[in-house]
């Protein structure tokens, strides 16, 4: 395998891990926004407690992803930043508001009395970021031509992303994150009523996932449906995704919550991997390929070494963090 493919693989892993961890944090915000019923307060608190110690670490996956993109595929990074300036900026607004609002509402000794009502901001910004992230990922599938005159991306700054398909992917991403968060939250508490609450929410959002996925498929332009899905891996991946999705539903229904969590994680992983396989070999279709935009080998090889060495330090520490905070009391 070439170095640029290996790095693209690491970026895919980072994206999967960001979805599984950071994505679920955003999904948690959705459930704070939608908290209802007699246990409204308890639901909000459960989300708060589950995210608190780990969100900073979860969020670094996104940074790693963006750093690897600009270091190893610099012209693709420039093209994406130029054409998708607006959705990326909105995504950042969401990230800023959500990260800070979360901490603000958590630490405010007066609990948001007076002018500081941050809980609502946290929740609303939890919608903005998943949608714009999905829009960006959806937009990568079409419209990135190189302008031969300038050597830059040929763009009107809008049409790449303001189209039915990217917007549908945005909604799908939101539904997916909410689903993932609900399944995690079932496993975060011993309170049977709260578990039932989030089990119901998980089932409801699974319906939303299916609906938005169908919508995205319906509005997908032909390049996405055919050119970008022509890989021989596409069909087995779709089948596998469907299988684990059903497994997650059955496990939820039969209250095998641990199994539900594992299946949901597998489902999300397969969806992201499936997207990447369809996208291969393009970073941004059709002008920017992995091989065509890769930095020289003198950059890629040392970065690969740094990634390997960094991973040796990182993964044990990360595992330790999750062991410390995600070991259920009494479990």
């Amino acid at each position: 395998m070439t170095s640029e493919l290996m790095i693209a693989g690491v970026m895919l892993v980072a994206l999967v891990l960001y979805t599984l961890t950071g994505g679920a944090d955003f999904g948690g915000g959705v459930w704070q926004l939608l908290a209802w019923g007699p246990r409204k307060g308890a639901q909000r608190r459960l989300v708060d407690d589950s995210i608190k110690p780990i969100w900073e670490a979860n969020h670094v996956w996104l940074i790693l992803l963006i750093v690897l993109l600009f270091v190893c595929f610099p012209t693709a990074f420039a093209a994406v930043c130029i054409a998708l300036h607006l959705p990326l900026a909105l995504m950042l607004v969401g990230i800023v508001l959500r990260g800070s609002a979360f901490v603000f509402s958590h630490y405010d000794p007066l609990r948001g009395r007076g002018a500081l009502r941050w809980g609502g901001v946290f929740a609303v910004s939890s919608l903005l970021t998943p949608i714009t992230l999905g829009v960006v990922l959806g937009a990568l599938g079409s419209g990135f031509d190189v302008d031969p005159a300038t050597g830059l991306v040929d763009t009107d700054f809008v049409s790449e992303w303001l189209a039915p398909y990217p917007l549908a992917v945005g909604l799908f991403t939101l539904a997916l994150f909410a689903f993932l968060a609900a399944v995690y939250l079932v496993n975060e508490t011993d309170d049977p009523e709260l578990r039932a609450d989030f089990r119901a929410r998980a089932l409801g959002s699974a319906v939303a996932v299916a609906a938005t996925a169908s919508l995205a498929y319906l509005v997908a332009p032909p390049v996405i449906r055919h050119d970008l899905s022509a890989s021989p891996w596409a069909t087995p991946l779709h089948l596998a995704t469907g299988l684990v999705a059903v497994a997650a539903l059955v496990a939820l229904w039969t209250r095998r919550d641990g199994l539900a969590r594992a299946s949901a994680m597998a489902q999300v992983t397969l969806i992201v991997v499936g997207w990447a396989v369809a996208q291969y070999p393009y970073l941004a279709y059709p002008g920017y390929t992995i091989a065509g935009t890769a930095a020289p080998a003198s950059v890629l090889t040392p970065i690969l070494v740094a990634l390997a060495v960094g991973g040796v330090v990182l993964f044990p520490s990360l595992a330790y963090l999750f062991v410390v905070f995600k070991r259920r009391p009494g479990a």
């Binding site: 608190r45 610099p74 990074f77 930043c81 800023v96 700054f157 003198s298 950059v299």
Partner: protein, 449 residues
């Protein structure tokens, strides 16, 4: 406002905002680790309380630092795509290593802040030390990247062709890296030490909870003073590098127009870019030649030797430099006074506490001014001598809108952080004075429903 100007303003605003939180993330772990160690050594609960109080403020600041830093890593591409398309691979090594440092920092911060009751005291203290090391390392890496913009090295090729061959470590250890890392790291500890000392001095003046605020002041002032005293030395190292590698920046810092031997050092004064002279300056003969090259008769290049379109905005750079050095000298005076009181084992008098309150923002002002010197002094280049800022800006139109949006967002965040820190820092003591408090009883009130 042109798009270029809007992009520069947005970059400057975001960086100036981020640095406030970044220095807290670098320096507060040191204060907390000191308090934590005292607690373990002496068993005195007051140090534990102190460490927890500091941790709360730090957690708030750290979160804003993390999100504003995330904005920055995207902004490099959103505003300067051509710069990143060229420079990204070259300065990729420090940025990638920085990513790992962030990870470690975030992981161990989570354990340090929320894991006190879940891990052993030893592991808890160890995570504090890891936060400190990783925070300083991440700052050092990003500074190496910035230093490369000042003294580019370690690559062949140019912005038109892209970098063809890169030596990542030569690029990372570029000539300016050492002096920038050294000077900025000391700056972070000095300014946070002063800011924290000022807050606790204010609490002592109000007469609340002396048993808590006295040791707090002592720790913070010691850290602030030690690094403030180092600052002119590390600054001198930086100045000598600038003199060697960016003579035009040095000339702008000094408002120095004519190339001459035995050049004077100017204090105050206003550089007039039209008339090409610096008015109303206090000149100390030979000092500039000595400071820049270690020889009172050395030649110092003046601005007139460079074409006008390669000169930075001289007045901004000169004034910013004066502000930084002025703040630095004031901090040394305050630190020196504190050291004499400590040497004579005297209680700090009220007037000195008042002086500390007034001095609290000095370091932060110096940092913002120092960055203005570094960044504005590099203009019109984004990469010194290689790529002009104007050629690197994004073609995206209407950049004034994101500039205003992010400015508004950061103003809002800044105000909230101040209100919130006041609540966290002061509400605790107010509660203590007027009846039972839940803020101080081991776990915080925010933990309760």
């Amino acid at each position: 406002m042109t798009d270029l100007l809007a992009a520069r303003a947005q970059m400057a605003m975001s960086l100036a905002f981020h640095i406030l939180f970044a220095i807290v993330g670098m320096a507060m772990p040191l204060l907390m680790v000191i308090a934590e160690r005292r607690h373990r050594r002496t068993g005195d609960p007051i140090y534990r309380e102190l460490s927890e109080r500091w941790a709360k403020g730090t957690a708030i600041m750290f979160a804003v630092g993390a999100v504003s830093g995330t904005v920055l890593s995207f902004e490099l591409g959103l505003l300067w795509p051509q710069f990143m398309a060229f420079a990204g691979p070259i300065i990729g090594m420090p940025f990638s290593l920085e990513g790992f440092a962030f990870f470690l920092e975030a992981i161990f911060l989570g354990i340090f802040l929320y894991g006190r009751d879940r891990v052993s005291p030893r592991v808890h203290l160890f995570s504090g030390v890891m936060v400190l090391l990783a925070g300083t390392a991440s700052a050092a890496f990003v500074l190496c990247a910035n230093a490369w913009m000042n003294t580019p090295a370690g690559f062949t090729g140019d912005p038109a062709t892209g970098a063809t061959s890169v030596e990542p470590f030569a690029a990372m250890w570029n000539p300016a890296a050492f002096s920038e890392v050294l000077h900025m790291t000391c700056a972070a500890f000095a300014s946070v030490g002063f800011a924290v000392a000022g807050i606790h001095a204010a609490m002592l003046l109000r007469g609340v909870r002396r048993e808590l605020h006295r040791p707090a002041l002592k720790i913070a002032l010691t850290v602030g003073a030690v690094f403030a005293l180092l600052q002119p030395i590390t600054g001198d190292v930086a100045a000598k590098h600038v003199a060697e590698h960016q003579p035009i920046k040095l000339a702008a810092m000094e408002g120095h127009w004519d190339t001459e031997r035995g050049a004077p050092f100017r204090i105050f004064g206003w550089p007039d870019e039209q008339a090409e002279e610096t008015r109303w300056a206090l000149e100390i003969p030979y000092l500039l030649s000595f400071l820049a090259h270690g020889d009172p008769h050395a030649e110092v290049v003046g601005l007139k030797d460079f074409p006008r379109d390669e000169r930075p905005p001289v007045a901004v750079v000169h004034v910013a430099f004066q502000i930084m050095v002025g703040c630095g000298l004031a901090m040394i005076a305050v630190a020196g006074l504190g050291a004499t009181f400590a040497a004579r084992r005297r209680e700090l008098p009220d007037w000195y506490l008042r002086l500390l309150v007034v001095s609290a923002p000095l370091g932060v002002i110096a940092i913002e001014a120092g960055w203005t010197v570094t960044e504005v002094g590099r203009q019109p280049w984004i990469v010194q001598g290689i790529l002009r800022t104007a050629d690197a800006v994004t073609p995206t139109p209407h950049l004034v809108i994101p500039f205003l949006t992010f400015t508004g967002l950061y103003v809002l965040l800044g105000v909230t952080v101040i209100v919130l820190l006041r609540r966290v820092v002061f509400a605790a003591d107010r509660d203590k004075k007027h009846g039972p408090s839940n803020m101080l009883s081991g776990t915080s009130a925010t933990e309760a429903p």
